[in-house]
Symmetry: C2
Subunit: 706 residues, 2 copies
């Protein structure tokens, strides 16, 4: 067995792990030293530490201290320690390779060479956890073992691979219809429009603002006819308001988190005072999950769960104390110390440790302090929704993703990478985050393209899109008060570039969906660091290129005013420089360091040796894709092959049925290229239009009927 489990104290069952592994005697633990509440591993100079899913900094996490503690902190600079997710898996890769997973519901600190350059120190703050040690010969093997341990990742409907447009908020029906019309008039493909908090009646979950959305049901239907799904937001907190059904029902049934005295805990978020459903309590979880039906009945097929760290603007208690404290400062001459105390009194109101320590959950009949299970809250809200939706239709895939998460929730929904900012650095950070997210089970994920907070410039949107069109979740989202950043919010040149990119995304759907599904079903990664496949020392240090699926290496441009970038090729590859679907240039490049030029409306991808990239046509939405004829770009050295996975895209039959597979092989017969295809299941594809590029740069066109 390459996975060993060690149990320390009496941890709560997080339901993160799906395999039953017997706990071993911790005194037999090797390679890892135990010191009080900490685990210590010596790091060699050449060791890389991967993992931690959604977090700041590099693919290699060395040189910083991270905390797994779901945090609503939109200002995520390099000096932050936590983002919205708590993903406790790390992988040490050096002469020895080792996976470590801390299965624990509360705060874990990962000091990865921050205090001592050569030491990894993991501290489980409350000292109760299951430790999993995963051995293997390669990074991929260890990751795969870990992924099998935590169970198969969430699979969204295929239409969720289309382009998605969001903003806080498209405020009323007219604005939504106008937006949709804009996309259709300009022939920019789109599959989803998001409804942020303003669609609700004063921010109350499972209500509708009748003034701004008087004909919500019709809107949903009309949009859907046009190939566009509306995706409403659901928040964790439920408004305290007499007469509001969710409030009253939850109170009556006792489904809200309680304070010390057993009364429903009062926090405040968007609507002011709210109660938090106790997602850790099975009954409450099922109860809340059943509420999604209100919107599903209106034709809604997807949701995003938000504010479920849970974010707390203030608690009733906390606000009262703050006002009392402020009273003391009145009329005083405040110096540096007292003034900053005053500031902190107000700033400290939100997401405060005091509050997280003053409400309780019912975990299998046991009263558990929130802070002791903090990282499971958003996880179980996702589970709540997934269970509720499964009850509505057990064989239908819904789009579902969350802001807060922990390992385990990856089986129930995806995540977006939280409230980022329109910064070039956040584009770069997203690139680096993807493989670490995949390692931790998060496959359906992506960043708010263009950035949520702050003001996006047209060049940033363009470069970001050049990257995001490869991420499963492709959503452009921005905050209230910021500049608009829809594809047509800027000049015509930008609109054209972004439209080209969205068209390309739709052409890429066959490849992206295929790679997503294969990786998800096989517990593999879709985005990999170069070091996972190439063991040379340079590949191991590359931080801004990724392998994406079976065929591609990506090297996005993420610097403003760049007219190109450096790229390292761990082996000979085919560079495909892309302006749009119809304008691509090919160049065979030898192994080694290169610089390629790319103006703002261009970028490059790389096809690996003997691999190919299938490309469909664009369409107004994913369900309108018609890929009877597929273009294939193949870089043929000896024998190129590709296996194109497909399925119905909406049912959960992928769990039980063999999928539709089209295997393509291109090989030399003498000096000629011969194409062979094998279909398993069925395929809609009737013809392949192959552009084969040989190692010497020669281009051969081959049409192949299936």
């Amino acid at each position: 067995m390459n996975i060993k489990r060690f149990t320390v104290a009496n941890p709560i069952n997080c339901h993160a792990v799906v395999k039953d592994i017997k706990s071993e005697d911790i005194t037999k633990l090797t390679k890892v030293e135990i010191e009080d509440k900490s685990l210590i591993v010596k790091l060699e100079d050449e060791d890389i530490v991967y993992g931690l899913g959604e977090n700041v900094r590099g693919i290699n996490k060395r040189g910083w201290i991270f905390e797994s503690y779901c945090s609503d902190d939109p200002n995520h600079a390099q000096d932050k320690r936590s983002l919205y997710g708590a993903h406790n898996f790390i992988l040490i890769s050096g002469k020895e390779k080792l996976g470590i997973y801390i299965d624990c519901p509360s705060k874990v600190v990962f000091d990865i060479g921050y205090t001592n350059l050569g030491e990894l120190k993991i501290t489980v703050v409350d000292g109760e956890y299951n430790l999993y040690i995963i051995n293997g010969d390669t990074e991929s093997e260890i990751t795969k073992s870990f992924r099998k341990l935590i169970g198969q990742s969430y699979v969204p409907p295929k239409w969720a691979f289309g382009y998605q447009q969001s903003r806080w908020s498209y405020k009323d029906e007219d604005e939504v219809r106008e937006l949709a019309k804009n996309f259709r008039d300009k022939e920019i493909p789109i599959d989803c429009i998001y409804l942020d908090i303003d669609y609700m009646e004063r921010f109350k979950n499972f209500t509708l603002n009748k003034e701004s959305f008087p004909n919500f049901d019709k809107l949903v239907v009309d949009m859907k006819k046009d190939g566009i799904k509306l995706i409403p937001i659901i928040d964790a907190g439920c408004k305290i308001e007499k007469g509001y059904e969710i409030y009253e029902d939850g109170i009556e049934k006792g489904h809200y988190c309680k304070d010390e005295d057993g009364k429903p805990f009062v926090a405040a978020v968007w609507p002011g005072q709210v109660h938090f459903p106790d997602f850790l309590d099975k009954d409450a979880r099922l109860w809340f999950g059943s509420k999604y039906k209100f919107l599903v009945d209106k034709g809604i097929e997807g949701f995003w769960n938000d504010m479920n760290e849970p974010a707390i603007f203030y608690s009733e208690q906390g606000l009262k104390k703050a006002f009392d404290k402020i009273e003391e400062y009145k009329g005083k001459n405040l110096d540096i110390y007292s003034f900053f105390e005053l500031k902190d009194t107000i700033l400290g109101l939100s997401n405060s440790n005091n509050d997280y320590n003053s409400f309780y959950h019912n975990v299998d009949g046991k009263k558990v302090k929130h802070n002791d299970i903090h990282n499971l809250y958003g996880y179980n809200m996702t589970k709540s929704a997934a269970e509720g939706l499964e009850k509505i239709d057990e064989n239908k895939r819904f789009l579902l993703f969350s802001r807060a998460s922990a390992i385990g929730a990856h089986r129930y929904g995806g995540i977006w990478t939280g409230d980022n900012t329109s910064l070039w650095e956040h584009l770069e950070m997203n690139v680096k985050m993807m493989p670490n997210l995949n390692m931790c089970g998060y496959m359906y994920t992506g960043a708010d393209t263009g950035g949520f907070g702050g003001n996006c410039t047209p060049d940033l949107l363009t470069r970001w899109m050049q990257w995001s069109i490869f991420t499963p979740l492709l959503r452009n989202h921005s905050a209230m008060g910021t500049r608009n950043q829809e594809p047509f919010a800027y000049d015509l040149g930008t609109e054209k570039s972004v439209k080209n990119l969205i068209d390309l995304r739709y052409a890429l759907v066959p490849y992206i969906y295929s790679e997503f599904m294969k990786a998800t079903l096989n517990d593999d990664m879709m985005f990999e660091p170069l070091g996972f496949k190439y063991s040379d020392s340079t590949s191991r240090t590359v931080e801004d290129q990724l392998l994406m699926g079976d065929s591609l290496m990506l090297a996005p441009i993420y610097k403003q005013n760049s007219k190109g970038r450096y790229v390292y090729l761990p082996e000979e590859m085919l560079m495909v420089k892309i302006k749009n679907i119809d304008e691509m240039e090919f160049e065979v490049m030898p192994k080694g360091h290169h610089y390629f030029e790319a103006n703002l409306d261009e970028f490059a991808i790389f096809i690996k040796k003997d691999k190919m990239l299938p490309l469909g046509k664009t369409a107004k939405s994913v369900e309108s894709l018609n890929n009877e004829k597929l273009k294939v770009i193949a870089f043929v050295n000896e024998k190129a092959n590709y296996n194109l996975y497909d399925d119905d895209g909406v049912s959960k039959n992928y769990k039980t049925l063999k999928a539709d597979n089209l295997s393509i092989e291109i090989k030399y017969v003498g000096n000629d290229l011969k194409v062979e295809t094998v279909v398993e299941g069925k395929t809609t594809i009737k013809e392949l239009e192959i552009t084969a590029i040989l190692s010497n740069g020669e281009v051969r066109k081959i049409n192949h009927k299936i």
Copy 2:
């Protein structure tokens, strides 16, 4: 004349310009369109926009909107618009080249392709300014014309090129002595130790905390004997306190800024309530400047002026209003809108526009609202100090630098680049800032190495030092509450690496001082973008390499966990890979793109063709340097030369006297290399130990007596 001046309305004289240029008829302005309060210039795709001195983002400022408005904002991410300085010079470089200087005391907005990709729009908010249009054939020519327009930059004493250690705060005599002892015991060179706000009695300018510094005078003397200068901070605001001499004297003489009613304006900073000296009023400026004598009489030879944007924690008025407003929120159910209003009530207290609009200056007898001259405040504080110090000894150089600044202040002091953070991005930002600072007259400048706010990791300090040892101001500074970041605050390996770098800095002093002085006296830049000297399109887009002085190109490593980096060579150069003074490797590299490897304890610099780098020995402090024998690394192609400038380093004789120059020439005579030296003035150097590397990589050692 390559400079044209146009006067719009009736601007206040900022005294930024030292040349008397007749104003021309603005209707004759070409290339620049005027639209209301804005100037508009069309940008071509290939245009680069340099300038704006101390600001965020790249060397090329395209793609963002900047504001010249001195701001105390330590959280300077890419999405900020202003830092501490207001440097209104920009240089458009494309097929056409154009310098634009907005001589204006208040806010100016530079929209550089932010709203429209292809348009530069400069808006002078109050509409009164002098516009200078500078023409020239090259970027260097335009910059030099501009620098001549604004007058020669400040020159510090030579010892200010030594290593400087700071922290908020080394709190008492014992801590300062212990710190100095640590440096001396570990043989790490040091020239300055900084005293942050805690050396004062409750943050009162020109007082001493008698409890923590009971023998201040002796401390200064003892330290100086050991080659270490103490550099105290001076803040803009003066505490309101009966019996405090500065307060009472200033009130009596009417030297403080007034509110609407003519009473001294009450703001609050470190000590609580303060008044701001009216630096715009000549009498007040001279009065405040004369106060520096208190510390100079104790042996102090350098100062840093801080909080002079001016930073305002709150004003008496503002705090009262905030408390009133908070009262209204009490007992209410605060929703998103009211809660964020409450937060903003407190957060908005600091550096508020309301406050900047409610106090007044006396400018040549005229009552002028602060906001109308906001950017001149820090500038005139620096001028105040410089004038005061000049009165004490008109021929002595003092170390003097400031946080806030505007063009004009560069003649009186240097600046540090403000309260940055321990982020890799802030190291990168500092690299990009240097040429833009030089353009705007700021020659004696540098960043808080290791970062002021946040926690510095050992690898960040090491990489940052590899860069900072080339900046004139080399200071390690960190904030209260952050991790210590002195060279010996980490592991022994880090200590050794940092010591090696500081030793190397002292060996570099001859070159750095020579290049600093030549650039300053000739109105040239010391740090240049590659595009200033090489016109190929790649050189023009390089953002992370700089030419430094006559001989060097720098390509610092600024990414965590990097084991090397890419570098572009615009011509054949000599790479010098450095571990320490005694361990250097040479490699001749052809023009083009390269990747070089460099572990954490290594970095590389590049010597240009036919240029050389003189290297002295290290010493405990600059005044202890003994450079009778100089090492010279020369990259000889045809004829290499270098001119080493020197002077006494303490007097202002550089203004009137010819300096000491040692010219070195190495040329071929047949197949032999011949060294010729010419001394103008005098030199302490008696021998050159030359390592000449030829284009073919051959190394020749030559000893040359002078």
